[in-house]
């Protein structure tokens, strides 16, 4: 990744000017704001909050895959007195652990991460992406005619592992005879490998694919070309291949951002961990209107979501 590709937007203008009481939120995130994936999800979430509260000022430093740059940006925002500084990337934990104690009056949020390392001014947030994965898996099993589905993953850790494991569990729950071929290419960024992994799935007669992380764009292209179905995650990926994307799991971070802001307003600057899931509405499945999903499959998905919410289905 390029060093210092970080870019910053200050969206105060459209917020109607920075009045004295305006709430200021800063985001530091690894990839581009419009990446149709991880970074875009938090940007959309914060934008939604701004729409709701009006009096919010937002600054974004994106493209800071380089942790060094991210650390400098986090510190910069803290020094500048932002009310909430969001470190959107599990790799920023080390920096945050060092910076947050220097600014006890400023609230930080760190995602996706499960705990706050005992820091009283850090919130943690993550997504129960296994839930969405499970629902996708149910649909994939129902739609597959060859009874083989494929997964293209980056590295078997974190959010990606959670999603892929949920997906595989969903497939097996729906149709135990269906084979799930899982291919972790070993890279978040090698598009060519992701593309060939999709080809390999095709040659193993898979007709439904899913995948997670930024390099899957290569796999989506192959799926489109070979007429395989695709399930997206982290953002709505319909625009990548309008013919074959069935549905996408989308993160609605505003759900937990709302809670974080409420906490801050009440004087609590951290110490709590949040999860978005179907139950709290932070996870949603967005369907592609351009794909003609059979009503019974749609029904299965809705039933599964309901089951997850009421606890009758476990995704693990």
């Amino acid at each position: 990744g390029g060093d210092g590709d970080a870019t910053t937007t200050t969206a105060s203008e459209s917020a109607g000017g920075a009045s004295a009481e305006s709430f200021r939120i800063a985001i530091v995130a690894p990839s581009a704001s419009n990446d149709l994936a991880f970074t875009q999800s938090i940007v959309d979430g914060v934008e939604a909050i701004r729409g709701e509260r009006g009096n919010v000022q937002v600054a974004i430093t994106d493209g800071t895959f380089n942790v060094d740059d991210a650390a400098a940006a986090l510190r910069g925002y803290a020094e500048d007195g932002f009310d909430l500084v969001i470190a959107h990337g599990s790799q920023y934990g080390g920096s945050l652990q060092e910076i947050a104690p220097d600014f006890p009056d400023i609230a930080f949020a760190w995602g996706t991460a499960a705990d706050t390392f005992g820091l009283s001014n850090v919130f943690a947030y993550e997504a129960a992406s296994d839930e969405g994965g499970y629902v996708m898996g149910v649909m994939a099993a129902a739609l597959s005619e060859t009874d083989v589905v494929g997964v293209v993953g980056p590295i078997e850790v974190g959010d990606a592992k959670l999603y892929v494991d949920g997906f595989a569990a969903g497939v097996v729950a729906e149709e135990p005879a269906t084979t799930v071929n899982i291919n972790y290419t070993g890279s978040f960024s090698d598009v060519a490998l992701a593309s060939e992994a999709a080809q390999a799935h095709a040659s193993a007669s898979a007709d439904v694919l899913t995948g997670t992380a930024q390099m899957v764009v290569g796999a989506v292209g192959v799926a489109d070309e070979l007429g395989m179905l695709w399930f997206g995650t982290q953002a709505n990926q319909t625009s990548l291949a309008p013919e074959i994307v069935v549905a996408s799991q989308v993160y609605r971070w505003e759900v937990i951002l709302r809670e974080i802001l409420t906490n801050i307003d009440a004087g609590t600057l951290g110490g709590e961990a949040f999860v978005i899931d179907f139950d709290n509405g932070g996870l949603v499945i967005e369907y592609n209107d351009g794909y003609d999903l059979p009503a019974d499959v749609r029904q299965k998905a809705d039933d599964t979501i309901a089951g997850i919410i009421d606890g009758s289905i476990t995704t693990g």
């Binding site: 390029g2 590709d5 493209g63 070993g186 598009v191 040659s203």
Partner: protein
């Protein structure tokens, strides 16, 4: 497990290996020209990235993949000439000037992508061409003769490069300049002209390699090449500065990767082992270093700037 031996899987693996080899092959062939004339261009990866962005952006806007490839050619040519200015005219240390070009391409391609595109929108790919007759041969036909047009272009580059290097006066001049520039100069061969030509060819093919990669994948993103340009430079060494050797290296590299992907997909090797494949480029490079270094001589003037009368 027995799945591995099916014809379908075999065909898929070979076809995948060939596809993975294409960008490396194009870039390595180009670099071969430069190195045979005594210039090491370590900036290949940067040129590939800019060629990739240029090709991608053109196809995104015009929908014409050939126009995209042409832009790859032009971007590569411009950067090839720039590389030649540094290495030949300014006589900069070639390792360092290559890093400069690499960093430049890495930074600028990402910058342009963020500015002009942002969201990785898909583009159309090269048309497939089933070679009439040949593509109907069982197994072989499907493996070798049902590829994107760019695949044939890249592989035709191998005999073409061999012909140019070994059979033309230009090729003879390249070899002379790479071995003994003083001697070539004293016979009226312009060392500067030959090196500008070879480094420009190298840049052009790197640009084409990048454009081919982006158009074939139908996408662009930051650092799309993933160090492929560095692997291409190492493959020139692996191939002992000969187009056939370079092709063998590119195919070996593609094959190792394709095989591991197939293995992983089919669950033949445990996931915990399969990651070793990530080490393939490094291992191939180091093996090549040890094997080639002891068997072949590199062009005697490689990395040495030439000044008349020095």
């Amino acid at each position: 497990m027995s799945d591995f031996l099916t014809q379908t899987v075999l065909i898929a693996t070979v076809a995948s290996a060939i596809r993975l080899a294409v960008p490396l092959l194009l870039a390595s062939l180009g670099e071969t020209f430069g190195q045979r004339s005594g210039v090491l261009n370590l900036g290949v990866d940067g040129i590939m990235l800019l060629g990739a962005f240029g090709g991608y952006f053109t196809v995104l806007r015009t929908g014409n993949v050939w126009l995209g490839l042409l832009v790859g050619v032009l971007v590569g040519l411009v950067l090839g000439v720039a590389s030649a200015v540094m290495a030949v005219t300014l006589q900069a240390e070639q390792g360092i000037s290559g890093i400069g070009i690499f960093l430049f391409g890495l930074g600028l391609s990402d910058l342009l992508f963020q500015r002009l595109v942002g969201t990785p929108l898909p583009i159309s790919s090269f048309p497939k061409l089933a070679v009439p007759g040949l593509s109907d041969i069982p197994v072989l036909g499907e493996m070798l003769f049902r590829h994107s047009v760019i695949v044939y272009i890249a592989f035709l580059g191998v005999p073409l490069s061999m012909f140019i290097i070994n059979r033309t006066t230009f090729g003879m001049n390249i070899r002379a300049v790479g071995e003994n520039p003083e001697a070539a100069d004293s016979l009226g061969v312009s060392v500067t002209a030959v090196r500008y030509a070879t480094v420009s060819i190298g840049g052009t093919l790197a640009g084409v390699a990048g454009a081919a990669l982006a158009i074939d994948l139908g996408i662009f993103q930051q650092n799309l090449t993933n160090a492929a340009g560095f692997i291409a430079v190492a493959l020139v060494y692996f191939g002992a500065w000969r187009p056939l050797g370079v092709m063998a290296g590119a195919l070996l590299y593609g094959f190792v990767n394709a095989l591991v992907l197939q293995f992983k997909t089919l669950g033949i090797i445990p996931r915990s082992w399969s990651d070793i494949a990530a080490m393939a480029p490094a291992i191939i490079t180091i093996l090549a270093l040890v094997l080639v270094a002891s068997r072949f001589r590199q062009p005697a003037a490689l990395t040495k700037p030439f000044t008349r009368g020095a």
